[in-house]
């Protein structure tokens, strides 16, 4: 793979994470527990959609065959999507989506930090912009984890369950594939082992402060980074791509 194609694949994978998570959060519109949370959730999904657009646009530029952000979002089949399984998981209840955000965002923040130091200017610039947004998201989601973990008995029980259920999707974040390895070798990309250690420390701190228990080591699901998704993903994509697939070539 040429360096450009490598970068295109890497940027589009980052775009996939952002878009799929943004799309999940959009499903929560008009369903938040309180009006103020409605506004926060919309802000965060807008941030993620914005990041997806930047990553896809950059991927298209590196690839050099004229694909734009919408070609990436709406005209690729399921197996070409390379997002983490974690971000495609259904929203569930508020505790489930809170835990999903905390687990993903604590990883993503470190990843973006590492990417600001990579040798590719295009990606490091996008990372520098995204990092400010994600730092704030993580502050918000962590605060909620504290409230739910250390709130009522019911909220404690529910959110512990969320944590236990979603834990198996965290392993994938730290297992490097060829793309990660090449990214690291050629562009001084993120070192996933170092990030894992940082992530574990951060997550442990917040989980303990929330009076929750770190889940036991367990079997880890994987496949998202290779385009093998959970069953939920096909529906997300079918819904999102509906108009573009029904009316090919139309402008909206």
């Amino acid at each position: 793979m040429s360096d450009n194609l490598l970068m295109a694949a890497y940027a589009s994978r980052l775009g996939d994470n952002a878009l799929v998570l943004g799309q999940r959060m959009i499903e929560l519109v008009a369903a938040s527990p309180e009006l103020e949370e409605e506004l926060a959730n919309a802000n965060f999904s807008l941030d993620y959609i914005g990041q997806a657009r930047m990553f896809y646009t950059y991927a298209g530029k590196c690839e050099g065959v004229g694909r734009d952000e919408d070609d990436f979002a709406f005209l690729r089949p399921e197996h070409e999507y390379r997002n983490l399984l974690l971000v495609e998981q259904p929203n569930g209840h508020f505790g489930d989506s809170t835990v999903r955000q905390v687990l993903f965002e604590s990883w993503y923040l470190h990843l973006l930090e590492a990417l600001t130091r990579c040798s590719d200017e295009g990606i490091s610039e996008i990372a520098a912009r995204a990092i400010k947004e994600v730092r704030y998201h993580l502050r918000h989601s962590s605060q909620w984890l504290l409230r739910l973990g250390d709130g009522t008995e019911e909220s404690h029980r529910r959110v512990q369950q969320s944590l236990d259920n979603l834990w198996k999707f965290t392993g994938e974040m730290f297992s490097p594939d060829d793309l990660d390895d090449e990214m690291r070798a050629i562009f001084n990309g993120p070192h996933l082992e170092i990030i894992e250690a940082q992530w574990r420390e951060d997550v442990r701190a917040i989980v303990e402060q929330a009076t929750l228990k770190m889940p036991d080591n367990q079997w880890m699901a994987s496949g998202g980074k290779q385009g093998r998704h959970t069953e939920h993903f096909g529906y997300l994509l079918a819904e999102m791509q509906h108009l573009q697939q029904t009316y090919p070539g139309a402008t909206w």
Binding site: E34, L35, E36, E37, L39, A40, N43, R139, H140, Q143, R147
Partner: protein
């Protein structure tokens, strides 16, 4: 019915050099949440560089019923204003 989250008043400094100004209010369970709710509600269009939030029930306010006693005595103190003083036009820098 369960208790609703308390109300907070939100004050925003739109850019440095200006005072904070009342923007509106939000409900929040605690101070930290009030701050982030205010940020997510009132600064979506880059309206601010600094936010204050304060519990609405902590604000001490004057009573409109007493407004004449409070504010009208200032009305006849016109000598506090520079236009009260007559200075010939020839005199500059004053």
């Amino acid at each position: 019915m369960k208790q609703e989250w308390p109300l907070y008043e939100v004050f925003i400094r739109s850019r440095s050099g200006l005072s904070h100004r009342h923007a509106g209010s939000v409900h929040a369970a605690d101070d930290e949440m009030a701050l982030t709710n205010a940020r997510d509600t009132y600064t979506r269009r880059k309206e601010g560089v600094s936010i204050w939030v304060v519990r609405s029930d902590k604000i001490v306010a004057s009573d409109p019923e007493e407004s004449s006693a409070f504010f009208e005595p200032a009305e006849d103190k016109i000598y506090r204003h520079p236009t009260f003083y007559e200075i010939p036009d020839e005199v500059e820098n004053l």
